[in-house]
Point group: C2
Chain length 305, copies 2
Amino acid sequence: MIYSVGHKNPDTDSITSAIAVADLWSKVKEATQPVAQGELAPETKFVLDKFGCEAPAIMTDATDKKIILVDHSDIAQTIDNLSKGEVVAVVDHHKLGDVTTPNPLEMWVWPVGCTGTIINAMYKFYNVEIPKNIAGIVLCAILSDTVIFKSVTTTEADKAAVAELAKIAGVADVMALGMEMFNVKSAVAGASMNDLIFRDYKDFDMSGKKVGVGQLEVVDLSVFDNIKADLYAELEKVKAEGRHSCFLLLTDIMKEGSEMLIVSDDPSVVEKAFGVAPKGTSVYLEGVMSRKKQVVPNFEKAFSA
Amino acid sequence: MIYSVGHKNPDTDSITSAIAVADLWSKVKEATQPVAQGELAPETKFVLDKFGCEAPAIMTDATDKKIILVDHSDIAQTIDNLSKGEVVAVVDHHKLGDVTTPNPLEMWVWPVGCTGTIINAMYKFYNVEIPKNIAGIVLCAILSDTVIFKSVTTTEADKAAVAELAKIAGVADVMALGMEMFNVKSAVAGASMNDLIFRDYKDFDMSGKKVGVGQLEVVDLSVFDNIKADLYAELEKVKAEGRHSCFLLLTDIMKEGSEMLIVSDDPSVVEKAFGVAPKGTSVYLEGVMSRKKQVVPNFEKAFSA
């Protein structure tokens, strides 16, 4: 048995890609089961429910297991004890991370907005018809990762994949589906501050320093008005767990910009990275919506300077 | 301009893949020029001459350049100052190495016998007809890397690619072409001992130790009878340049086995890796023909134990 798994604190793309790759791999190569490294975010639950897909079981240790990594290639984000298992494939749309392997493997890595776009191409490459419900969840992952095509990470390939998948999944109004999903994602009621920070959170190794970057994408930043102080206090706690810096992006997908909460041993990296001086403990970054393309590369440069 | 480049001490696959990827990339993406990190081996010269392809220019520094890596993903084997350039793509058939990138990229990595097999699939994927002369050199790379299908690294995909490419290149007798090529490769006359060691040589980082593994594939080991002592003396010099170990595989492609010359700070790794005790300064490894699949993984395990 092979296990397909996305990154820690799984987002919709990590879960739907694990499910889709497991389906495809089982059909063309070897029996594969999708697993998740943690609980599903509300958006992801909504997506799986909507198209009638089962949530993957949780698995956090790769010892003696054959593994397909989806949606990441960084050790900090991957399953525990990966080096005691065997990576047989990687399907990803991020920068190339620090995972290495002792054996040859298969990699599908494209600079597109979502792993789902690559998976759609893989089904075509292997000449397998993508099942209707999997087409639906992969479609949602692309809408989520590209913020309904508003993110700078969006490519023509993502748009083409959405058009193809919508036809197979029987989705008539893609934009309406996207807004429905982001309304679910915007809900903060009932979630603890810790839940909110880790809902879409990644740790990075930047020039030897552990740096965490969380992101909450909402349709209106006013949902944070009453909880911002509590969110910041919780972010300080997360930072105190051995990190050099913790940043939380509060992204307004309609206004297309992000307020970033800052806790850092060296807050000057923020101005170095973005050319904007923070006001107190936060900064507003006009036009910044993509952690992958606009935030992480700038921080990596600033940290290595 | 983008530059496609294979590993240091380029073999035929590294050169022909750089040429083919540059052709394809120029047609579907952006102008790309093939370059090489060093002089061509006699086998590679024979192949380029045979099909009328130009040798790539030599380039050894990636500073401020956009780069496509072919046939490797290890820092020890890649072009100097890669981190000061930008890796836009990787096309490879080896284990995943330690190259990382700050930006998303395109990767075509498959567990097949030769990068050429992946490149044949890429031409089909991008719906571009592979030019006749490039089909010829890529065909030769596959025959070379798979030792005319005798290597354990050979896959069905490699055989299928050779059949397709032979048709396009107009090669009627693939086996005869392979033997012609290996006869060129077997010639040791006129080459210095240093040339022979570095003809197909790679450095690896194994648990923090620098380990070099060279390989000479010949149709009859007797070509080494008169020069083995000189080869060994030269190998000791190469080892003394800051390496923990240097190994030279003398591979008999007809008998399908390798004599390995050993220079190491800890020769016990050889028995740990292969379960065979060396006789003096060398060991015969029955059935071992592939550095990638049979030698490097075993050494990596032995060095990490």
